[in-house]
């Protein structure tokens, strides 16, 4: 147990290990949790991450909301994403559902905590819920999805993709860092029943919400 804690603190830092421990304790109480996000900005590149010889049996399609979305999320969550104006790209490998990626322009209402992300810069999108089926997680599916999305967004004059990643997920942190993502902020959300306390190093810095209709708004821009 001690070894695991030491290993985790080497990967995510001691502060985040403390926060993660608090989250584990809070999880025993109803509707309670502690979430920490890093906000990252990823510059989109014309240079594909995947070489042309790979991913030939992976097809990417734009999935229009017709019900039966293959992404394993509750239907109400899927419907809400489309209602907000999100785009969903699906990857099929040899005709089998392999993964999906979502992105949205302008703004996104987060579904894990109560907050809104706004993108005032019109050359950015918000990407979220990049999912790959477990059996394909070592395959080029993710890279093919990302290259396809980058190519499409660059043609639409978008140059950055912003997103949030859990500070407690070292694999995600490393992957984003490897791709050249830069951290542009962080936020901690402490949820106790219906109350949410937000502390962040980006505006609005501090927010307390006692009801769903009240939430912090993060206006995030890529680095200059």
């Amino acid at each position: 147990m001690i070894k695991k804690i030491i290993a985790l603190s080497q990967q995510i830092g001691l502060v985040n290990v403390y926060l993660y421990s608090i989250n584990r304790i809070l999880s025993f109480f109803p509707s309670s949790k502690l979430i920490k996000y890093f906000y990252v900005a990823q510059k989109l590149s014309k240079q594909p991450l995947l070489s042309a010889k790979r991913g030939k049996n992976i097809e990417i399609v734009d999935f229009v909301n017709s019900g039966n979305h293959p992404c394993p999320r509750p239907p109400e969550v899927i419907n809400d994403r489309y209602k907000q104006g999100a785009t969903s790209l699906i990857a099929y490998k040899n005709g089998e559902f392999a993964g999906c990626l979502w992105y949205i322009k302008d703004k996104y209402k987060e579904d894990e905590v109560n907050c809104l992300f706004e993108l005032p810069a019109n050359d950015s999108v918000w990407d979220f819920d990049v999912y790959v089926e477990p059996k394909f997680r070592l395959s080029p599916v993710f890279l093919k999805l990302w290259d396809y999305t980058s190519d499409r967004l660059l043609k639409e004059d978008c140059h950055w993709s912003l997103s949030r990643i859990s500070a407690f997920n070292p694999n995600s942190l490393f992957s984003h860092k490897r791709m050249g993502a830069v951290i542009i902020g962080w936020a901690v959300f402490i949820c106790l029943g219906g109350i949410q306390v937000t502390i962040a190093n980006v505006s609005p810095f501090f927010h307390v919400s006692f009801r769903k209709a009240s939430f912090p708004v993060f206006r995030l821009k890529p680095p200059e």
């Binding site: 990967q11 991450l49 995947l50 070489s51 010889k53 790979r54 991913g55 030939k56 049996n57 992976i58 790959v132 997680r137 070592l138 395959s139 080029p140 599916v141 993710f142 890279l143 070292p170 694999n171 942190l173 490393f174 992957s175 490897r178 791709m179």
Partner: protein
């Protein structure tokens, strides 16, 4: 350089592993799930480096979690590819 030394050198280089982790890599060192740097991008990059080093090709459908279980399983995979080519 032996296959083991070569594969370890490629892993250290591709994953940009720090001194202590790099020195600790041995035949039975677990990879997937043990080294956070090991994601799908790392897999593709490692395979590409091995293809360039040894001249064989790895089809997408050959990529399996078992290959990357340990340094040893990756070495065995390389030896197997070399024996087939």
């Amino acid at each position: 350089m032996s296959t083991q030394e070569n594969v370890i050198s490629i892993l250290v280089d591709v994953l940009q592993l720090g001194g202590n982790v790099a020195k600790s890599l041995a035949f039975d060192t677990p990879l997937l799930g043990s080294i956070p740097e090991f994601d799908s991008m790392a897999v593709v990059t490692v395979l590409t480096a091995l293809e360039e080093e040894y001249g064989f090709f790895v089809d997408d459908d050959e990529i399996d979690a078992e290959i990357f279980e340990t340094v040893g399983t990756l070495i065995s995979f390389v030896d197997n590819k070399l024996s087939m080519s």
